[in-house]
């Protein structure tokens, strides 16, 4: 597989983010040249529910992540609850049950940092609504590795704390509301 050609979008979100995802996925292209990895804080009991609703609304293929799932172009990958999701140099996704970070597992910081180290300037990281500070350190790492950073406009966020915290600590490439994120993902970026 052509790992070098893979464009990757990692979307991190916490409280309120499932609603945002539901407003984004119906408007994604059916056969894009990128893949999306969703890293959302949620209860383990909600795992299959999220996978089901995203599948119903999305034209893209939806793949629940298990150990060593191979990333492929044009699909949406969903991180399971209660595991950190990491990116391997082989193009595989790996899981890790080590200590929670920012009271969270999966931690958005962990996934952003790990993706940044491998995908560098082919990575776009998007941070959505949420009530804790997870994601900020990860976005800084994405920037340091020449990736592209988008933060949801806190004004458009259900719970503005998480995007606002990121904005206080780093300068993103774009600050967008939900429609803006949809337009960006359809722009061939």
């Amino acid at each position: 597989m052509e790992k070098a050609a893979l464009k990757l979008v990692v979307i991190g979100g916490s409280a309120g983010s499932v609603d945002v995802i539901m407003r984004i996925v119906p408007f994604l292209p059916s056969d894009p040249d990128f893949s999306i990895v969703l890293v959302l804080h949620r209860k383990s009991s909600d795992d299959t529910t999220l996978e089901d609703v995203v599948s119903i609304k999305s034209a893209m293929k939806v793949i629940p992540v298990e150990d060593k799932t191979m990333l492929e172009t044009g699909a949406i990958f969903i991180a399971p609850s209660d595991y950190h999701l990491l990116f391997e140099p082989t193009g595989e996704l790996s899981l890790d049950v080590s200590e929670k970070i920012n009271y969270s597992r999966p931690s958005i910081d962990v996934s952003f940092e790990s993706a940044a180290a491998i995908y560098k300037n082919r990575l776009t990281a998007i941070l959505l609504t949420g009530a804790n500070s997870d994601g900020t350190a990860g976005l800084i790492s994405v920037k340091e590795n020449d990736g592209f950073v988008i933060i949801q406009d806190p004004e458009s966020a259900d719970i503005p704390f998480m995007p606002a915290n990121a904005l206080e600590n780093m300068t993103p490439d774009l600050v967008l509301d939900v429609d803006g994120i949809v337009n960006f993902l359809n722009s061939g970026f």
């Binding site: 992540v65 298990e66 150990d67 399971p80 595991y83 391997e88 790996s94 080590s98 180290a117 491998i118």
Partner: protein, 270 residues
């Protein structure tokens, strides 16, 4: 500080050279995080300082092994998994005159004690031996004491109840000074020993092998090596149980094992 790829390689090769532990087949993203955590916890400013301590202090190295491997675990983790063990697997292996179970990568032992409780409630404990192994001698020292923080018991009691447990969970331990000490009669059926899935061989035959959330830290080649080791340790119709996001679908075992139901438990067919 953050270790570079070549510094990670240096750590892996030093550990192998001095102690024979081979971490080269570990998933790199996770191992990198463990190494960086180790550097942070030890306040190292140069990787060379860590390497030097590893070379000269075997006692310190034992702690390093514990820190490089992930030792986050809980009792009755994934209650639905334990429910399936309770309802589907124990009635089958319970028909045997003597039962051997292997917990590979048992960490601090919480899941071994969970299994002992299930066996006890099926009146099978007295004819069972639980072999519990881990790469890290440090965590085995904790596991064999059967003493866990009392503050976790509320969560464990909830897990136990969701797994189909009907008893008062607190009857299995004595609470004292913030600790919960589990009953000696549970510990009496356990054998703890150091075992390295990367380099050691099969040491017995088992009716059930549990290896939960260990293979996620291995790359595909090392996973296949460990799975072959389990295969060598299982008779036909023996059971293999893995973590909830682990799978043998694309492994060397896939065509000879059948998943029992929804949970990650397979039966060896041939």
């Amino acid at each position: 500080m953050t270790a570079t790829d070549s510094e990670i390689e240096a750590i892996i090769s030093t550990i192998f050279e001095y102690y024979g532990y081979d971490f080269s087949g570990y998933s790199r993203a996770s191992l990198n995080r463990r190494v960086n955590r180790l550097l942070e916890l030890g306040n190292y400013s140069h990787v060379e300082d860590l390497l030097s301590r590893i070379r000269h202090e075997p006692d310190y190295f034992e702690r390093v092994v514990g820190d490089l491997t992930v030792n986050v675990t809980e009792m009755f983790r994934d209650p639905q998994f334990y429910k399936q063990l309770r309802e589907k697997i124990l009635p089958i292996i319970g028909t045997k005159p003597f039962i051997r179970i292997w917990h590979a990568g048992c960490s601090t032992g919480e899941e071994v004690f969970s299994m002992a409780i299930l066996l006890d409630e099926h009146k099978l404990l007295e004819k069972t031996l639980l072999y519990a192994t881990d790469i890290s001698p440090d965590v085995l020292q904790t596991a064999k004491k059967g003493i866990f923080p009392l503050r976790q018991m509320k969560q464990y009691a909830e897990n136990y109840a969701s797994s189909g447990g009907k008893e008062d969970f607190s009857k299995y331990y004595m609470a004292n000074y913030g600790l919960a000490k589990f009953e000696d009669r549970l510990i009496a059926r356990m054998v703890f020993s150091q075992h390295n899935l990367v380099s050691d061989r099969s040491f017995n035959e088992f009716d059930l092998i549990l290896c939960r959330n260990v293979l996620i830290y291995f790359d595909k080649d090392l996973q296949n090596r460990a799975l072959t080791l389990f295969d060598d340790s299982l008779p036909n119709l023996g059971f293999l149980a893995l973590g909830s996001k682990e799978n043998i679908k694309f492994s060397v075992l896939s065509h000879r094992y059948q998943q029992v139901e929804r949970e990650k438990i397979w039966k060896k067919l041939r």
